[in-house]
Structure formats: structure tokens, C-alpha cells
Amino acid sequence: MKVTGRAFIYGDDIDTDVIIPGRYLVLQDPAELAKHAMEGIDPDYPEKARGGAIIVAGRNFGCGSSREEAPVALKHANTRCVIAESFARIFYRNAINVALPILEASARNLVGEGDLLEVDIVNGIIEDRTKGVVVRAKPLPPLALEIINAGGLTSYIRRRLGLG
């Protein structure tokens, strides 16, 4: 499973309130949420991400609330993968549950803003095609990969319960 996109680089402690501000949570439609992805820190993100984006960030990405709308908004704003040095635990689970690939790696000082990245999710290999640099990520736990491969937790559970 490989994804490609342009790198957009952010710092440490990117919280869920800047990923999707609370006032938009009544918007249930993923496409509507996507219009406000990263609005608190980078209002141009949905436009920049149009052709496919890979977020590269520092420590504790997605800290704050339990809102699943955070990974949903990113995913539907054409974010193909989020790479961070570490993730806040609820965001980590939520991203996997909505099948937004995420990887833990220290990549923000190795890749450049706007670089073309190709990411091998299963093997945790991040290739910066612009610079010709390869960064290794911590592999995802097998259960997380299974859930992402199934297309998210609801499909995974449907299968497990024999519902299709």
C-alpha cells in the first residue's frame, strides 16, 4: 500500500482545535468538514492539499479532543498520510479507525515543504522523490494495518461479525 503527495510541514503539538475548530463539528458531511481542515493554523491547507498532501509534523500531533472529525476532515481534504514524530493517542486511534494512514517518524527536518513524497505504509518507508532521501518510520502494529486495509473500523468489525 503506497501513497504519494506533496509534503506540508507543521510543528509540535498540532491540536484538534486547529485541525477542525469546534464550531464546525455540527457539519456532519465530510466534504464540508474538509473545507475547514487545518483552519486554525493554515486556512489555505484545503487548497494546497487539492492534488494530494502528506502532512509531516513534530511531536504529539492531534492532541486535545476526541473529535473523530479531525482525521475525517484531513482525509477528505486529500491528505494521503500523516507522518509525525509522535501522535496523541485518541487521534492515533481515530485516524486508523477512519483509514487515514499515519506513521511515526522524525522526518520534518529531512523533507522540504512541497517535496513529492511516496510512502509505503506497510513497510514504513518514506521516500522524498524531490530530494532523493529515504526515511524509515516505525511500522504500524498489525491490527492497525488490518483495520486500515479493511477501509476502517466499521468495515473491519462488519467482517469480524460476519455481516459482510
Binding site: D12, V26, R67, L143
Partner: protein, 412 residues
């Protein structure tokens, strides 16, 4: 966790499938939980009596959309026979109601579709927040996969000085270890200062453990816990303590008697300074309430400062009791009268402006000092507003003076 997963022992790092004792959701996360539950395609929830639904994030609803979403959750509760349902005017903030109505018992595993579910560690439960789809899976199966966390222990010796509260202690702790300092881990709070706190203060501390990234924040149950739970819970319970010789990944010691009133500066919860060093910061609004500091002891602390004093001209002070029960008791004790006479406005029990949805949001360039737990950019409205976090006493004192102040300067 061993009990919940049916194992004799579990080790940090191990992934377990755990049975859930109680599941909680509210008006804001509920609709997405229901959508995911429908997507899974199971007809009935695993056990309606183990599910609690509490409306608090936008109560009473302020928009047509919010009213519609609440109607959706209300009819789901009826359809599924979920009797532990707290509609507008019946409950209050979910994390206040869960404790005061006896839904939390020591040694239980509780999940909530809200990050501040960690609050229930105040009664010795292992409680953690999850997203909507995780919660939908719990509703369908009654279980969840969890990674057994490492634990950090905070040993808090001494007693908190006068007008220094549980809030100041947890701000100090988060300042020490940082906003990601406990990511994936559980924090155990122990020591004389913790034992001397009531359940309300312990709730404040556990509530903010998620601000350091913790999966759970836990106070070992003691006599206070047991008598609190006995007064409220119908069923028996089995308290759990740290194992004899338990290993902690880190241990920290703090002397509570050396602490002073503290403030977290925007936009970082771990950028903590003494209130006395921030006296140049003028404020437009003060806010006392939330799942961190909307309990009776918090309102008492604020009333003690505000009694016989007035909120400064040009400053708005919003006070929101954490639940209907807190509201009633604040009424009986005369606290609400003190707030009204001081020029504060009293809001309906719920989250209020903390999440930037209902009344009390901030305009561009405004500054608020709040007893809440988060000061992220845009949290309370405009992304150009600033939020300082402090104790109810510090918020009350600052509202009187019109700038951030150490409450000990107001009541000597």
C-alpha cells in the same frame, strides 16, 4: 485491565481486548457514534444499562442543526432502551454527572466519547476517551482493544497553601512534564496532598491528565472514595490499588506546600507561570465552570473571593454550574446570589463557551481567563482571542481587578 480482559496479569505494551463496564457519549459526539453504529449494522446495543448519554456541549441547543442532532440522539436512546439518558435540564456536564450519579466505581473500565473521560480516575476507575467509531464498536460488542500503558507516578507531599487549589497543582505538573509528557501512559497521583483533596479536587487533577497526553489519570481509592461511591452507586464494587512493588516508568515528587496560584499562557497548556508575574495582562472576560472546575467546591472557592465585591466595569464574568445538582446546591448555599450581586452572569449547566460553540465566545483580540482545561488557538471562538487557564479563585480575583492577579492579593 487484567480483570477486564479476563487475564490473570497484563504487561505494559500488551494489546488486550477488554470488556467495558460503562460507556458514555454526549450530544456532540453521539450523532457520529450513531452513524458508525448503523454502518456496522448491528441492531441492538450490547447492554443498554451500561450506556450513559448526557447532553452538555450545546444545551439548550443554540442552532437548528444542534437541535436536530440532539433529536437524533434522543430518539436513538429511546429506540435502544437506554434509560441512563440525561436530556437538557436533567443532568449537566457529562464528567460531572457521571461521578455524582454513581456511574463510576473504583476498579471499573470506562470509555467515553470525549477526551476528558479521564476525569473518572478521581474515583479509582481506569477511564479513557475514544473517538466515535471506537465508541460505536463498543456499543455493538461491549469490548475494545487497548494497549496496556506504562505508568508514571506523582507523589505529592505536603498540603496546598490557602487559595492554592488542585488546579494549580495540575498546572504545575503539566508545566513540569509538558503537553506530550505522558502520551500513551497512565498517571497515578498519590501522596498526602492528594489524600487531603476532596473528590471535586481529585476530579480536577485527573481531568487535566489528558492535557499531558495521558491515557488515564488515577487516584488510588481511599475512605473518601468509598464513602462517595457508596452514597451514589447501587451495585457493589471492588477497589483496585497499584500492585505491591508495581513498576513505574517514571516517578516524580512534588511538595504541594511550596506551590502558588498558577496560570497557563496561550496557546500552550504547559506554558505555566505564577499569576503574580502576569499582572500586566488585562482581561475582557472571566469564565468559571467546565468539567475541570465547575463543581461545588470550585463555585465555593470563587464565591469566597467574589463575596461583597464587584466584577470590574468592562469585564464580563460568566459562571456556569457543572450540573443541575451543583446548580441546586449553589442556590441553596447562597453562592448564586453572591455571583449575581458581583455582576456575573450565570449560564445553564453544560460546557458553555469552553468549546467555542455556545454563549460566551470571544471576539478578535479579546482575552479571557478561564477555569477550563484548554487554551488552544480558536478554542473559545476567534482564533485571534487569547485564553489563559487558572483556578476558579484566580479567575474570580482577576475579574474583580480587570487583569490577571494572584487571588491572595485580593483577599489578604
Amino acid at each position: 485491565m487484567a480483570r477486564a480482559s479476563g487475564e490473570k496479569e497484563v504487561e505494559p505494551g500488551q494489546i488486550i481486548e477488554a470488556r467495558v463496564d460503562r460507556a458514555m457519549m454526549h450530544d456532540l459526539t453521539g450523532p457520529r457514534v450513531i452513524d458508525s453504529f448503523r454502518e456496522i449494522g448491528v441492531e441492538k446495543v450490547w447492554d443498554p444499562d451500561r450506556i450513559v448519554i448526557i447532553f452538555d456541549h450545546d444545551v439548550p441547543p443554540s442552532t437548528i442543526k444542534a437541535a436536530e442532532l440532539q433529536r437524533k440522539v434522543r430518539s436513538f436512546a429511546r429506540e435502544q432502551g437506554i434509560r441512563n439518558f440525561y436530556d437538557v435540564g436533567r443532568g449537566g456536564i457529562c464528567h460531572v454527572v457521571m461521578l455524582e450519579r454513581g456511574y463510576v466505581k473504583p476498579g471499573e473500565l470506562i470509555v467515553g466519547a470525549d477526551s476528558h473521560t479521564v476525569t473518572y480516575g478521581a474515583l479509582g476507575a481506569f477511564a479513557t476517551g475514544v473517538g466515535a467509531t471506537d465508541m460505536a464498536a463498543v456499543l455493538a460488542m461491549g469490548s475494545i482493544w487497548l494497549r496496556v500503558p506504562e505508568s508514571i507516578r506523582f507523589e505529592i507531599s505536603g498540603r496546598l497553601p490557602k487559595l492554592v487549589s488542585a488546579k494549580d497543582l495540575i498546572l504545575h505538573i503539566i508545566g513540569m512534564i509538558g503537553a506530550g509528557g505522558a502520551t500513551y501512559k497512565a498517571i497515578v497521583f498519590a501522596g498526602e496532598a492528594i489524600q487531603s483533596l476532596g473528590i471535586d479536587g481529585r476530579a480536577t487533577i485527573c481531568n487535566m491528565s489528558v492535557e499531558a497526553g495521558a491515557k488515564a489519570g488515577i487516584v488510588e481509592p481511599d475512605e473518601k472514595t468509598i464513602s462517595y461511591v457508596r452514597e451514589r452507586a447501587a451495585e457493589p464494587f471492588n477497589p483496585v490499588k497499584s500492585d505491591e512493588g508495581a513498576e513505574f516508568s517514571e516517578t516524580y515528587e512534588v511538595d504541594a506546600s511550596g506551590l502558588e496560584p498558577l496560570v497557563a499562557l496561550p496557546p500552550r497548556v504547559d506554558d505555566v507561570k505564577p499569576a503574580s508575574e502576569l499582572s500586566g495582562v488585562e482581561i475582557d472576560q472571566g469564565f468559571i465552570g467546565t468539567c475541570t472546575n465547575g463543581r461545588l467546591d470550585d463555585l465555593r472557592a470563587a464565591a469566597q473571593i467574589l463575596k461583597g465585591r464587584r466584577v470590574k466595569e468592562g469585564v464580563r464574568l460568566i459562571v456556569i454550574p457543572g450540573s443541575q445538582e451543583v446548580y441546586r446546591r449553589a442556590l441553596e448555599e447562597g453562592l448564586l446570589r453572591i455571583f449575581v450581586e458581583a455582576g456575573a452572569i450565570i449560564g445553564a449547566p453544560g460546557c458553555g463557551p469552553c468549546i467555542g460553540i455556545s454563549r460566551g465566545v470571544l471576539a478578535d483580540g479579546e482575552t479571557c481567563i478561564s477555569s477550563a482545561n484548554r487554551n488552544f488557538v480558536g478554542r473559545m471562538g476567534s482564533s485571534k482571542a487569547k485564553i489563559y487557564l487558572a483556578s476558579p479563585a484566580t479567575v474570580a480575583a482577576s475579574a474583580i481587578v480587570g487583569r490577571i492577579v494572584d487571588p491572595r492579593e485580593v483577599v489578604g
